[in-house]
């Protein structure tokens, strides 16, 4: 990936993959209420994709230097298997892990590229992913850890 557009296309594709993943899991989910939860996650990923498309079209911008809180909730939770019997709690854990992996990927890319512009784009994407992680961590904190 040598251009800004290539990097953005890669990121957009990943958001679409995530949206497809959740939509597919929603179709197969068996636990009560999980279809709507997973479809909600798919919509969230579509929103992320839409934002990146807007950046690519010059209608929006990445904000690599904006502060995003890291709640670190996902750091000490177990890995979960996203199967048809996934629970609400595990779906949120999976989503947090996924966003964290994406954050780490873009952070690595930023460290490896030499071009300053591309580095800023990678950092901006990493920041976006940390923002997505914060969204899911906040949901987990509010809805799963209510008594804790």
């Amino acid at each position: 990936m040598n251009t800004v557009d290539e990097i953005l296309d890669f990121a957009i594709e990943r958001e679409q993959e995530a949206a497809d993943f959740y939509a597919d899991l929603a179709r197969r989910a068996e636990k009560g209420g999980m279809k709507s939860v997973l479809l909600g996650f798919a919509e969230e990923e579509q929103r992320h994709k839409a934002k990146l498309l807007a950046v690519k079209d010059g209608q929006g911008e990445l904000t690599p230097h904006q502060e995003v809180i890291d709640l670190k909730i996902v750091d000490y939770l177990v890995e979960v298997e996203p199967g048809v019997d996934i629970s609400f709690q595990d779906a949120l854990i999976h989503a947090m892990k996924r966003e964290k992996a994406a954050f780490e990927l873009y952070t690595d890319m930023a460290a490896k590229v030499t071009d300053a512009t591309l580095r800023e784009v990678c950092r901006g994407l990493a920041k976006e992913e940390s923002r997505h992680k914060l969204y899911f961590e906040s949901e987990y904190d509010e809805r799963v850890l209510r008594d804790n």
Partner: protein, 602 residues
Amino acid sequence: MNLKDLLSPFYVWQRAFEKPLTSLRPIEERPGAPRYRGFHINEVGTCVGCGTCKLICQNHAIDMVEVEGLEPRGGDSGLRPRFDYGRCCWCALCVDICPTSSLRMSNQYAWLTDDPDEFRFVAGVDAKSWNAHELGYRRDKDYHLVPTKRLEMPMVPPGEGLKSFDEVVKGYSAEQAKLEADRCIECGICVATCPAHMEVPDYIRTVREGDLEEGLRILYRTNPFSATCGRICTHRCEEVCPVGAQGDPLAIRWLKRYIVDQVPLADYRRILGDEIPTESGKKVAIIGAGPGGMSAAYYLRKRGHAVTVYETQQKGGGMLRYGVPSYRLPDDQLDKDIDYIVSLGVEVKYGTKVGVDVQFTELLEGFDAVYIGTGVNVPTKMRVNGEDHPRVLSGPQVLSDVAKGKDPGVGKNIAVIGGGNVAMDCARVSRRLGAEVTILYRRRIEDMPADSEEIHESQAEGCRIVQRAIPVEILRAESDAQVTIKWGEAEMVPDPKGGRPRPVLQEDRVHEDTFDSIISAIGQAGDYGFIPVAERDKLEIKWGKLLPRDYQHTTLEKVFVGGDIANDVADAISAIEDGHHAARGIHQLLAGTAEAGVERKP
């Protein structure tokens, strides 16, 4: 008679050519005395619109009116006093009774205007020249028409309480109850706040007047679990009681308990006059004999419908029996509430699990309506590494074991994870079983969702609370009979969206502690496994909760829902109201009087 006396009548003429004292020629004001009872000022932000000023006014000079642009917070009626100076005598009783001291008087006493309507004004809202006056009459801070201290509740001392599971709160005597009831200002702010909208001032009045049979009738109009709620209600009514603004709120919960405690169960039928009307020929199935399900059963049975309750456990009450320890709610008091409901002809099939012993679809086919009140009974896991260690116990399971007379085997030195009522109950139960207890909580004490009394009593009974402690991992201890928890200290960071502060783990401050057991009590979720997939997919479930529409109706035609599985509050009084509300909806559906369930309940 001297010359002056002779001339004095003629002095009047010098005034004849002066203009009268009107708005065009106001008098020269002399300042009022510093504590003069002049025109009213109301601190609108402090006022809660309780209307006590209106009640006490002997001249009917005060109305409570809506104020445009005022967004009332919880415990605020949204109304504010409007004064009519055609009636006011400036006696200041309104100021003296005002529980929040929002109302006072300026020392301004002269007011001229062409428009007589201006003499009716909303103090503190309508712009008046005296609104910023500091001088004038206000109630001395130590002077109260209503006593600010509540009658102390006789309690078993913490040390004694730990020796048994006997009830800790002893209850008021008749004299104490009447004195406490005397503190009620009958504002009714509590009614709006109570999820069941219990008629609090009315039943408190019966305590004052000694008419407890009438008190029981008033209680049962909105709550058939009054013996229970008189003990363990979350009493949000007390949180908003205006009397508490400058002292202790009224002991509403204990007064409710006082009424019920004085009336034996054998007298209930005669007092309540619950004669079952002609059988309607309609049948309703209720899943779960918790407070919501049994509340629905009571109000449906009173309307002549045949009610069958399906309960997995061997006794009714749900979490009230298997989640609330007997030192807070003795079994006989819960039995009193349930036995009365059952005595009206409600059939309860104990030990019958829907989805196992009887299928959900059978209920749909065999009954005219179904109410789901199964509660939340699947413990939320911490989801940290090592959690499947055999010495990690589930909080609800510990409480259930104790309720059934089993020893949960917690050991002598334990940790409880969580800050809700289940966590506090686990901690206090473990103390009674002889354990040293450490409560690890991710946030601060002030963030704990448990009742403040539970937190306070836990501490009084010797439980140690470690705040801002995040469980990170469960490890094997040297002995298999023990377990080690790795936990980290947290720093609280502000929530960017303005919610409660969020804890963030500090990796450089991680500790390991070993216990005989760790009780995980961080929450519970609903279980929908008893509903076949075809029906489940038609239900609207969001964030793990089954969403009710109007009258607790679900998206399935015959099915209603209430209690913890449907509301976020997850307390008994909300479940009771859900059951009552659903009973109205089910009755409408069965009687064909209205179509329940179009708009979602806000």
